[in-house]
Symmetry: C2
Subunit: 539 residues, 2 copies
């Protein structure tokens, strides 16, 4: 790790941000004042993940800065100023997903994040703090929290900042308006009065109080005691010109058609006998390996393959084995590792939901869309399923098998299951599906039950799938992004969906506007001493 | 009216769309096939409003087309293609607000909109239908519903289309994906199966069935019987170079400072003795006159003054009189006209919430921020209040008076009151305020209770207010729009807030993207027979 350091101290982990300013991911900027770029955030995401698997003894993570006078200055402005629109948007999505994992750690596993702020904590820095559940601020003349994006940069605090100020901290809106308009931020008691932080502590007592609070939170934690974690061994992956090969996931790219196919191989081994056996397998166990590989594949396509507009999900394997591997974890959901693996599937599936590419599932013969893999059918924009036997195809007939897990283990960002979201207008269909748990449904039944969009036989399959893919590839990618962002999340909103759906959409708009990104805009002029030149038309 | 016709038939009104293709609001396009522009929608908004005040006997409005083979082709594409970004955005906001009034008519007054579709009903045409509560479709070869924006124009169905498909019609998301991808739309039984319409009826029986359904809905309506409405007489308004003067509202514009001040004059007459007296006054009654004038002033600034970044709200008058005028209506809320006037205040205040200008309230001496006018204090982004006597100012001391109405009569789009939204983190403060109903609160108390942002005395007032206004005027208007759209709507989301906050934000982004609006984009190329040329990068 270049930018972070963790000191483990029993149930408390001290997570120090210590960005190496010479180690930016790209050329052309220095990561001064603990400012960050995608590389810094990739390390952070990895730490948060490892904390859950490798350090299950940790009940409290204390986020702090290793720099003297600054907590964190936020996303690096020169990096943002130099980045293409697509990179900005992808960067923000990933950082948002990472911030959400702080809150997920508490909700999923009882691992609580607290933030000890000494020095300036501005923009993305304060957004890091906001993602923690308890914010402690040093009461001195240099320590403050701030969201200076609007006055300084003409962009939004887009890594959840505005949303967490109103919805998590529940700051009164006029005070939030003031707070987001002052470059220098808010200090001391006022920060407490305005609900921007939870505690303000004299500098002399700060370290002791932080340590005390960490111990208290740890003592109050309901997280079960676990001695020892497992190691998240390096992923097995091989990149080639046209794809990536993992142990359970194959990504193959058709650049002419602007399409990627992700094929997931079901388990090739029997279910581990019990959680001891599963723990011994650790990162090699299929349920964990597959989740990690799928996550990596999605992130790879998002970051490195922006000409790919469509991702087709396929599976191949034995559905019963998928069911059995999931069942071991479900029936041991109070085992820490079983819980962590299931929660990781939840997060990976949310990552799929949030991927702004058109998504389709192709339920072919020989496939294993069962349990967690079946979730992919309702994460995608539409699905095609093979009906009856295909000439010359001797794989087992395509089927879909539901598990108990499909009815609650993997909620979407809107806090509904994918089946609840899908059948928002006809909730009785969810009840009917419950009666089908464990029974493989072939295409006619799956279509009848509303689980897939289309079922086609041997005669029509190739043409229908090809026509769909060609049509999709001909549409404007921007219109697809907007359409999918609206159609995928029916029903209630949560802080999470508001961050991705409302805040992000406004930020993306602003990231297109000359006042922010034009040659005379605020992002380009930052640091020159000359303010951005604005078109004053209100839109 | 140029574009609409209404046939009144007792409790049923038949509203015919009959757009005059030669009568567009601007040059350069013809409103063919019942396509619409802002002018058509302004007439529609006026009709919907008048239906409630002038025709309270109407229980069911049947929306239909007066053209032979087309219901409505949606927003005029040449108009959109030629319009500046700001006009597109303002046009969409107004049309969205107008669609919402269809649903509000049922919720507020029991006036139900049903839509009788014969012929092609596409894009904004289907969005008109979606805003109605019951959609009847002719079962023939030319009648269909469609949202062809994405494939045809590379933009979204942004007048609530995507949101109402998922949240009101609750269409299964993969079917919604298919529906929004096919230019030709969906006909007949499939439209019914997919929940896109409520009834499909053979052409030969269509008119009879529509008439029958209208009678049934009218018979089932809980709307009270009212013989006769009141006339919404023309507004009294005078435009000048630097503002507009209405009878109760004064708009004065400072172009150099890019600021408008809206000053509302409280009632100069006593409260009408009872609802008979109020009804006799009709549109002259202060409560109705002021709401209509304020609404008009806001719309004027939005449409015609796009260089104005800040709107300052002021009031002058007797707070007790405002309280008394509102009290008459509140205590007669079961009287149809009292209800309509209060509901209109609700809508006008929502219009203020949705206005993308920075909003501030200046609570000066002599003001009357009471009851409905007090709502403005929490609709704005921040507020300043005069503290103690000012040298040479002999107006009554500034105060704020809450009424019962502030606790439920005027909910925001998120279905919370403005006070609930403001005190989302400290709901006990709302309870404490309840005890203050009817008691004028001066600045120190109002600030203490969290009702205003700042209270300043004679020494600081001018400087503080001036500094704020200057600072605000220096910020990027785009950043302000994005910030305010996020900070104003804390808490839960509704279909309404999702339309303005999520769908609109994505549409605004797309309205900036070359794939849609560039010289080779879909909007420009529409009608040339050549498809838009797209950058295929996915963002």
């Amino acid at each position: 790790m270049k930018h972070w350091r963790v000191d483990y101290d029993g149930p408390v982990a001290n997570l120090y941000m210590d960005v190496d300013e010479t180690a930016g991911l790209f050329e052309g900027y220095e990561l001064k004042l603990n400012s960050y770029d995608l590389g810094v955030d990739i390390e952070l995401a990895d730490i948060v993940q490892r904390m859950r698997f490798e350090h299950p003894e940790v009940k409290v993570v204390v986020m702090r800065s290793a720099k003297e006078k600054v907590f964190c200055a936020g996303a690096n402005i020169r990096m943002l100023g130099g980045a293409a629109h697509a990179h900005k948007v992808n960067f923000c999505k990933f950082t948002n997903e990472t911030r959400n994992t702080f809150e997920a750690a508490l909700a999923d596993s009882g691992q609580n994040y607290i933030c000890a702020v000494r020095g300036a904590c501005a923009g993305g820095g304060y957004e890091l703090a906001l993602a923690c559940n308890h914010i402690m601020l040093t009461d001195d003349s240099t320590s403050s929290v701030a969201l200076p994006e609007v006055p300084l940069l003409a962009v939004l605090p887009g890594t959840g900042g505005l949303t967490r100020v109103t919805d998590k901290r529940k700051v009164r809106r006029d005070l939030a308006d003031v707070f987001c308009s002052v470059e220098e931020g808010v200090k001391g008691k006022r920060a407490l009065q305005w609900r921007l932080v939870d505690e303000v502590i004299a500098n002399s007592k700060f370290d002791d109080t932080v340590a005390e609070r960490a111990r208290e939170f740890a003592a109050a934690s309901s997280k079960p005691e676990v001695d020892r974690g497992i190691v998240l061994t390096p992923l097995s992956r091989q990149f080639s010109e046209d794809g990536v090969t993992y142990s359970t996931v194959e990504v193959s790219i058709d650049r002419t058609a602007r399409r990627a196919t992700i094929t997931i191989a079901g388990p090739d081994t029997d279910t581990p006998a019990d959680m001891d056996a599963f723990t011994t397998l650790g990162a090699d166990a299929w349920m964990l390996r597959c989740a990690r590989e799928l996550d990596d594949a999605i992130l790879h396509l998002r970051s490195n393959e922006d000409q790919i507009g469509l991702i087709a999900f396929q599976t191949q394997g034995d559905p019963e084995k998928v069911m059995a591997h999931e069942a071991l974890l479900r029936s041991n959901a109070d085992h820490w590792l079983a819980n962590e693996v299931l929660q990781m599937w939840k997060r990976v599936l949310k990552r799929v939901d949030m991927t702004s590419r058109s998504l389709v599932a192709l339920v072919e013969h020989g496939s294993c869309f069962a349990g967690p893999l079946a979730e992919l059918l309702w994460a995608v924009d539409r699905s095609y399923m093979m009906l009856d036997a295909f000439d010359g195809d001797n794989r087992h007939l395509a089927s879909i098998t539901l598990s108990d897990g499909n009815f609650g283990l993997y909620p979407m960002g809107n806090d509904l299951t994918r089946l609840q979201t899908r059948f928002l207008g006809t909730p009785e269909q969810v009840d009917e599906l419950r009666a089908q748990i464990g029974k493989p449904m072939e295409a006619d039944e799956a279509e009848e039950m509303g689980l897939v969009t289309y079922a086609y036989d041997d005669i029509d399959w190739d043409d229908e799938v090809r026509l769909f893919m060609e049509e999709r590839a001909s549409f404007s990618p921007d219109a697809m992004t907007g359409m999918e962002a609206n159609l995928r999340f029916a029903g209630p909103e949560t802080m999470e969906t508001r961050i991705f759906g409302r805040l992000t959409a406004w930020q993306n708009w602003i990231f297109q506007r000359p006042n922010a990104v034009g040659p005379d805009g605020a992002l380009q002029r930052y640091g020159t001493g000359v303010r951005g030149e604005y078109n004053m038309q209100r839109v």
